[in-house]
Amino acid sequence: MTYPSFLWLIALPLVTAPLVYLAGRLGKRIGQRVLAQGAAIASLLAAWMPFILASVELRIYGPHSFAAEAISLRLDGMGLLLAGLSLGLGTLVVLFSGSYMANEAGEEKYYAMLVAMIGVMIGLGCTGDLFNLWIWFEAMAVSSYLLVAFYRDQPASLEAGIKYLVQSAAGSVLVLLGIGLVLSQTGTLDLMEILTIAETSPLMLAAGALFLIGFGVKTALVPLHTWLPDAHAQAPSGISAMLSGVVIEAGMIAMLRSLLALTGVESLWGPLLMGFGALNMLAGNLLAFGQKQVKRMLAYSSLVHIGYMLVGLGITFYAGESGGAQGGLFHMLNHGLMKGMAFLAAGTLLYALHLSLGDHKPLLIADLAGAAKRYPIAALTLSLAVLGLGGLPPLAGFMSKWQIFVAGFETHNAWIGALVAFAALNSVFSLAYYAPLVNAVYRLEPSESVLSGKPLSGLMKVPLIVLGLATVAIGIWPALLDWLTVPAGATVLVGLGG
């Protein structure tokens, strides 16, 4: 029996995560603290090989499955996109975490959980069975609870961890009840089979609603978002980048997969997704506006970007054209890169100004005044990231938003046209809180905390530079990522029976 290469892609991080932990313990004993980080980097770099093979296989053979007993895996465009995003951002976060996490108790657990979480998210994208989907989802949740509450001696981190755990666990129970309803009505858990069997009935409709709410907690649909700003702001900055850049997107992929299986049941999903998208954009913008803490502001802006993605996906659910989903998934990638860069840049500054001096104060926008004079690279990448998130051309964020807007206008539906115009207005409005940040960093006189900050290590700047170059490159040549976004958009269409 031959194993497809995407199986290795999932298995490598999962198998090596305990080894990373052991390497870290060994490193502590022999006084080589870098061993944990080194093992984590080696593990993720090794996973790039099967990723490249899997993407070639997907291009040649198309989507293919693997099944062993109750485990059902299937590689398609959407799975590859999530794998690429989590592996790419994950590798950079591990690189970044070197000096950020040095001297923290339990550093080896951090790397081990991070590597395991990346493996689990790749698995989540590649599942072909509803119950397997829940298992991956729950495993991702458990690993992220521990990472959010990593600073266990800080009451604020514990508070964020508990809020996140309770809301997320309640959501996952709702998903399970939905799975029960689907099983009782169709007699199967295979996503493809459900799609062909499922018929309209009140119970199936309820199942869809349970999936929307249950996965919606993790995706941070307003009003189920209340855990998000706390968790994103309190986690170590590398984890904030992963949570905002990949974990909520993984929740969205899970929601998408379950709803795609139920498209035969109801045509309401498209308008529902678009409605939640509009709500997310509005609420996220209003909440982000007026935030004084940098990481909280970035966390709220994630709500807005989830909104854009939902609008794009909703357009495809409604109109059956691949443009919207392709744009939405492209925005998912871009948001991962830009928000990852924003959190990592904010993290370097937080580290330099507060953490390295031993205090766990939040990073305020006022603290960043004049930061460009002492920390030019961190300031430049932070500004690039927020301007890209605000949708300024020629950065990556502009291109994916543009694709969503074009797809919306092509439906020639007045309501969708109005929604897209609303999204564009929101995009402009978001500059109202991004621009003051750039202004503070570049135009104000250095604040006291900037003057008393520690210098940055070279390795921390590498991920920032890589992400910054990627954001500019994708903005100028958006076709650079077509090999990921086109098959992913096609997956949504296949699910819709188009």
């Binding site: 109750a70 119950f131 298992i135 729950e138 495993a139 949740a141 458990v142 609870y145 521990l146 509450a149 266990r152 001696d153 009451p155 604020a156 514990l158 508070e159 964020a160 961890g161 508990i162 809020k163 755990l165 309770v166 666990a169 309640a170 129970v173 399970l176 009840l177 799975i179 029960g180 309803l181 099983l183 009782s184 009505q185 169709t186 007699g187 858990l189 700003p229 706390d230 702001a233 309190q234 935030q291 909280r296």
Partner: protein, 103 residues
């Protein structure tokens, strides 16, 4: 399974979900909160077994139920671990003591 038993099981699932959601709203103690979450999970496990029975695949239903219990025990353990840390740092298990993060 006769229809009465089926209905009884369905009632049990629904009332466990009701108790769980109500408890989640009124509980202010972290340990109780973890227990309430477990009640919800048990409702879901029973629901899955019932779904297996209704689609005449009781074996599948039961194995799903057991898997759910195993998976969610891990969540309970993590929840308890966080509760222990809260008790150590703050000296209380009251959720209202954890309200520094706002806005």
């Amino acid at each position: 399974m006769n229809p009465t038993t089926l209905k009884l099981c369905l009632m049990a699932v629904l009332s466990l979900v009701g108790i769980g959601l109500y408890g989640l709203m009124i509980c202010r103690n972290l340990i109780k909160m973890v227990i309430v979450l477990q009640i919800l999970v048990k409702a879901a496990a029973l629901g899955l077994i019932l779904a297996g029975q209704m689609s005449s695949q009781i074996n599948l239903g039961q194995s799903l139920g057991i898997t759910v219990i195993v998976a969610d025990t891990i969540v309970a353990v993590v929840g308890m671990a966080l509760a222990v840390q809260v008790q150590r740092r703050l000296g209380t298990l009251d959720v209202d003591a954890l309200s520094s993060l706002r806005g």
